[in-house]
Structures are given as structure tokens and as C-alpha cells.
Amino acid sequence: MPKFYTVRHAALSLQLNLKTLSVLALLLPCVLACVLLALSAGSQWLSPLTVLNELVADGRYAFVLETLRLPRIVMAFMVGAALAVSGLMLQSLIRNPLASPDIIGITGGASAAAVFFLSFLAGSLSVYWLPVAAIIGALLTALIIYGLAWQGGVSPVRLVLIGIGLAAGMNAITTLMIVLSPIATSMTAYVWLTGSVYGTNWQDVSRLLPWLLVLLPWAMSLARSIDAQALGDATAINLGIALQRDRLLVLFISVGLAGAAVAFAGAVSFVGLIAPHIARLLVDRRFASLAPVSALIGGTLVVLADTLGRTVFLPLDMPAGVFVAAVGAPFFIYLLYRHQQ
């Protein structure tokens, strides 16, 4: 029995590991169970059976389930998945396990743009433009990082150092803008900076979905190149990888994923860092294996965090970001501890 299945096609070339497939087969039911749990939990607990019934035939809970809970859960999952894959790509690109969109300044750039929007434009423009501002902020920051890191090519170390520097700068700008902003907006800005999927409707979902539909398959198509890049620049070039072109592509797909996710849910942190690490504990270190597993884990993490946020302090509705950090921080420390051993 072969250990790998190799897929080769004009645009797609990757190897699937049998173990990965079995992990995925186990993970999927777990994810669905979590989603079902999230659908059941809320101000009123509905049994999973009722939920399934309601989803098939509209009953008296249809509004709560289909208009209030489901879009929120779908959004949380997409945001988590996008951030997880974005983090995974950055970690492979920079060859550093601590890389993630929030550490190299992409989330920071989106935050600065979002807070700028909330502070100075929210009165004249509808809040529906907020995601656009955040995505522009993320892309601009990525361009600046890339431009500054360029020195006849981009080396991962330069990229990460400049990224961290820019992240600090962006945080400073965000803080400055909160101080300068009218009082009414600081509260909204703080909620945004924590990350929340509160009040998501289907329209929001349909606006984030295209980003994922384009960028996730595109990321998968680069799987071979990403694995080769992990071996070091010299080896990657020897293997026939167009290193600089692919590095740029990887960076921008990762920025697109993180920027879009953050645009709709705010600066959710830790998911991009942690989900790939959990995935590494489960499957082999091939990008084609890690990406889907990271996406599922990242998505589930945010769904669970938001479920906690919605239910733990009833009737208060807390931002999901609070709980992502609560689950994320201990795990992060555990990870550092293990590396030390």
C-alpha cells in the first residue's frame, strides 16, 4: 500500500499523505460537532436534534438559528481558517515558528487603518466601508514591508525584522489615533481591536467568501514551492523554484487572507500563530497536509471562542477575541516551554 498519493496536473502538483487523509477524516466530524454545539448554544439552549430539525424545516427557531447564529458561526470559521493558513504560510516563508500575521505587522496595518476609519471617517461614511479600509491598510503595510526588505531580493530575516518593526510602529499609530479620536469611537475601536464577529449577517459572509475561494486554492497550488522554500534559499533555487517570484506570491496570498479576515472580524490574534502549531502535532510537515488541517483547527478555535463569548457572560455578548487569547495564551506558553526542553 503506497504511503503517498501524488496529484499531478497542469496547475496543481502535490502529494497527499495517507495519514493526513485519515486525520482529516477524523477531524471533519469533530469540526461539524463543534459547529453543531455552537448552533445549539446561545441565550437559549436548543438541543442538537432540534437544531438539525430546524435547519431542514423552518420552525419557530429559524430566525435565531439562520439569521443570528449561523452567519456568525460561518464567519468565525472562515476568519479562523484564513488566519490559520495565513500564519502557516508566513511561518514557512520566514522559516520561523513564531511568525504570524499579527507579529509581522499585517494585522497592525489593518488595525491602524480601521481605527483611522472609525475615528475620522465613520461620521461621513457608513460602517460598511470599514472592511475596505482594513484591507487597504493590510496591503499597504505588506507593500511597505516588502519594499523596505528588498535588497536585490528579499531574505526571510530582513522580512521578519522589518515586519516586527513596522508592527510596533503601527501599534503606536493605533494608540495615538485612539487618544486623538472622539470619545464616542474609542469604545468601538477597542472592540474592533479585540476581534469580534458580533452582528454578522449573510451579506458579510458573502463578501468574505470570495477571498477564501480564490486565495486558499491558490495557496494550495504553491504547496510544492512552499515546501522547497523551507529547505533554505540555496536548495530551493537548486530544485528549480523561482524563489523571489514565489516568495512574493506567498507573502501576498498570506496578506490577502489575513487582511480579509481581519477586515470583517477585527484584529483577532493568536489563531494565526497557534493553529499551524497544533496542525504540526497532528500531521507531517508538508504544506499540502498542514494547510487544510490548520484551516479546520483555526476555524474551530474561533467558533469555540465566539460560542464562549456569546454564552459565558449572558446577557452580555463578549468579543470572540477575548477568548481566542484565553485559549491561545496558555498554549503559546506551553509551546515555548516544550521548545526549551
Binding site: 430566525f63 443570528l68 457608513s126 472622539p182 470619545i183 464616542a184 472592540v191 449572558l314 455578548d317 468579543p319
Partner: protein, 312 residues
């Protein structure tokens, strides 16, 4: 003569008829309200209302209505003392900034009162739960009264509340003019917070009321939706200058108390007119700011009367 009587009868009948139609219309007709977030049609007299900001809760009570759902108050949580009696058994749906949509839906309201400043993002969901009306800013207490009066078919009560307010303002001005020799001109409203000091401007709740009473309150410096200034540096102290300072009573928070100590012991503090004239007074933040409704406004006015030794 007969013809004449006949004509009179007909006229009376017509009048009666139209009167009846009018009453029926008033209680059951559909009216469209244009508000900060769009147009909303309301039929009949809503009875199950959910109020999503403090001023709306206050105004509902003022109009003699007990909402089925309210948001937590900012101070004296979960409900301001002066509203506790009327709102004893009302469901709370979370915070003004992030109310729990599921809970709101489970109350099956027939009208939701929101504010664009807080609820613009969730307006689509709110409108799916029940007809939702919205004002721009939470502290526009007169707009709240007017809008809720129309929406709740309590136009008369709403007009009464506003007329009563206008009369009280006129009475206060009259009394002040006849009893006080030199009334203060400029007033500053200060709020000490852990990380900054707030100077409330003309467009804020208390600022607009003091302006209406005839005092001069610091004005908005251009940028829109600016109802207070955040002062983070003690060097900006001269910009507070006024004949009288009204300061919101300090909370027990030690950090806030330290900020207060630092500001008031600063040499610049002694240069301010109100400090030199010993015209620094503490006021009740619930009435002066957090309540945000017409009842709160009247409570604040009572306290202003008291401050000048006048009888409301």
C-alpha cells in the same frame, strides 16, 4: 328651515364620522417614520418595546411605558436608581454597545429603539426582529422624546414633556435674572477618568442643557460628532478655563483619584478662574450625563436650580 336643519344634521354627522375615523386611524393606522438609519413603517400602538440606549429607556418611562427589554445602565448597574421602581422586572439584553440579539428576538418586541452611533452595524438584524427606529446620537434627548412619541402613538404626552421642559427653562432663566446679581457666564463640565480628563462640549447632554439655560460652554472645534474633548496632558489645563467648574463626582477607583490629585495640585490649576473664585462643584454623573433622557435632564435641571439656591 327644514332644509337648514337637514344640512346641519348632515354636517354634524359628517363631523362625527370623520372624528370616529380619526380615532380609529390614530390607534391603528400605519405611519412611516424617517430616522437616522432609514424609513420604518409602524402600525397601531406598539406595546412590547425594547430600548437599546439609556435615553430611550428613560424616555419610555417618562411616556408611561414599561419596555419589555432594556440595556444595562453605565452606572448604578444594572439600572439607575431613579428608574428602578418602574423597571423592576424588565429583562436586560446586555450592554448598550453590544446588546444580545437573541435575547431581543426572544422578547418578541413590536418596536425597537436604537441609536445610529451604537447600532448601525446590527440595524439589518434588528429590523428583521421588529420595526426599528434610530436617532443619531444617544444624548439627543429631545429628538428621542419626539421620535418615541410618534412611534408609540403618544404624541400628546411627548409634546407635554417638551413643553414642560421649555417652561422650566424659561422659569429658571427668569428666576436667575431676578435673584442673582452676577451670574456666571462660562461653565466647564469636567469628568476625571483613569487615563484622561474629559471636557464636555456644547453638543454633549449636559453641555446642550447648560447652553439652553443661557451659559456658555466650550464649543466643538470643528470636527463632527465631537461632544467631548479628551485631555491627556496637564499642560492643556488652561483650555478648561471658565467661571464655574462642574465636576462629575469621582468614583472610588484609586487611579481616578490620583489623576484628580495630580491635576488639582498642579500650579496651572490655581490659575484657573473657577478655582480662584472657589466656584468648583461636584455634580451627580447619572443626572448630568449617563441618564441621557428627559427624566435625567429634569433631574439635572433640579440640581442646577438647587445650586443657585432657587426653587424649581
Amino acid at each position: 328651515m327644514t332644509l337648514h336643519t337637514h344640512w346641519l344634521t348632515r354636517l354634524t354627522l359628517t363631523c362625527l364620522c370623520s372624528l370616529i375615523t380619526c380615532t380609529v386611524l390614530a390607534s391603528d393606522h400605519t405611519r412611516t417614520l424617517t430616522h437616522a438609519l432609514g424609513n420604518t413603517s409602524i402600525t397601531g400602538t406598539p406595546t412590547r418595546i425594547v430600548t437599546l440606549y439609556q435615553g430611550a429607556t428613560d424616555t419610555a418611562v417618562a411616556l408611561g411605558i414599561t419596555p419589555v427589554g432594556v440595556v444595562d445602565s453605565w452606572l448604578e448597574q444594572p439600572t439607575y436608581q431613579f428608574l428602578r421602581e418602574q423597571l423592576a422586572n424588565v429583562t436586560h439584553v446586555g450592554l448598550e454597545t453590544q446588546p444580545n440579539l437573541e435575547l431581543i428576538a426572544s422578547l418578541q418586541p413590536d418596536l425597537i429603539i436604537a441609536a445610529k452611533m451604537r447600532h448601525e452595524k446590527i440595524y439589518p438584524q434588528l429590523s428583521q426582529i421588529a420595526p426599528t427606529i434610530s436617532i443619531d446620537y444617544v444624548f439627543q434627548f429631545k429628538d428621542t422624546v419626539q421620535q418615541m412619541g410618534t412611534a408609540l402613538n403618544r404624541q400628546t404626552q411627548a409634546d407635554e414633556l417638551l413643553n414642560h421642559w421649555t417652561q422650566r427653562v424659561a422659569d429658571f432663566q427668569q428666576q436667575l435674572k431676578t435673584t442673582q446679581r452676577n451670574t456666571p457666564n462660562t461653565v466647564s463640565l469636567l469628568d476625571f477618568r483613569p487615563d484622561h480628563v474629559r471636557l464636555y462640549l456644547q453638543d454633549s447632554f449636559a453641555g446642550s442643557i447648560l447652553t439652553e439655560l443661557g451659559f456658555t460652554v466650550a464649543r466643538n472645534q470643528g470636527s463632527h460628532n465631537q461632544w467631548a474633548l479628551k485631555l491627556t496632558s496637564r499642560e492643556s489645563m488652561p483650555s478648561l478655563n471658565a467661571d464655574v467648574f462642574f465636576i462629575f463626582k469621582l468614583t472610588d477607583d484609586p487611579v481616578t483619584q490620583r489623576v484628580y490629585q495630580q491635576w488639582t495640585q498642579h500650579p496651572l490649576w490655581q490659575t484657573l478662574t473657577a478655582v480662584q473664585q472657589q466656584q468648583v462643584f461636584f455634580v451627580d454623573e447619572v443626572a448630568w450625563s449617563a441618564s441621557g433622557g428627559v427624566l435625567g435632564a429634569n433631574k439635572m435641571l433640579d440640581q442646577v436650580y438647587q445650586h443657585f439656591g432657587l426653587t424649581p
